[in-house]
Symmetry: C2
Subunit: 154 residues, 2 copies
């Protein structure tokens, strides 16, 4: 975790930015909540515990800056606000969004490579990045569905 902070500091200083206490606090918050998908407000609320004076604008500016440096990823789960998680594009994964309970889990796979090759062959479009969102029912909610009955015909 110290290493992640040092890596971030390096990426910042490389471009004449500083690892200020606020930025460090934001990074630490994201580090200690990896696996979650925090919105700017979430980060703000969490950081405020130890940094009561921090401003929401600073959170937005920092998240924006760090996303630009590929220290973290901005993700959009379709709920109208941006969310953030540590990690660069290389290690990007997809998201499974449960339409019932809203839980978001992650799924790591590179099966898209063949799809991207096909896209290129068919259309000449060269894919450099992708975003995949799979909506459905998580295991737990699926168990619930069974009981509720599945033969509903509206």
């Amino acid at each position: 975790m110290r290493d992640d902070l040092e890596a971030a500091r390096r990426k910042l200083t490389e471009r004449d930015h500083r690892l200020t206490p606020q930025r460090q606090a934001i990074l630490e918050t994201l580090l200690s909540h990896s696996g979650e998908h925090l919105s700017a407000e979430d980060v703000y609320a969490l950081v405020k515990k130890n940094h009561p004076d921090i401003g929401l604008a600073t959170v937005y500016r920092t998240l924006d800056l760090l996303a630009g440096l590929d220290v973290l990823q901005r993700i959009d789960l379709g709920d109208g606000r941006a969310r953030y998680e540590l990690g660069d594009e290389e290690h990007y994964h997809h998201h499974l969004i449960c339409v019932r309970c809203g839980k978001v889990t992650e799924f790591d796979i590179d099966l898209l490579e063949s799809l991207e090759a096909l896209v290129f062959k068919r259309t000449g479009f060269e894919v450099v990045d992708h975003q995949v969102k799979l909506f459905g029912l998580c295991r737990e909610c699926r168990a619930g569905e069974q009981r509720t009955g599945g033969a509903g015909g509206d």
Copy 2:
């Protein structure tokens, strides 16, 4: 195209909604701009030509209503506003977004089925819908890139 309107009317009346002139105008606008990805403002501007009195709120409410009836799809291309296109979930396709010129093209494929089966096997998550966005360079912009030179090392 008449058929599409009739199908929409049926879906509306089935749930005690009416195909009002405003709603019809919005549908016709979407019909005559299929293949594009209009935002609410876009639709508003287009409909206003023939229906100067229509209100923006009505456009929002109608798009919302029609999306709920699966008459059209709400899509998110990552530019901060929702976009809409005719068609139900069944015939949904993916979007190729050019990061240089911003052009959005469509790509129809069901290669995801194997991915979804794998997701289910591995995680128990049952996919019912998906959204795939592929970012990259379209054929034209790729041609441009070649000339500009590609060995940049920043």
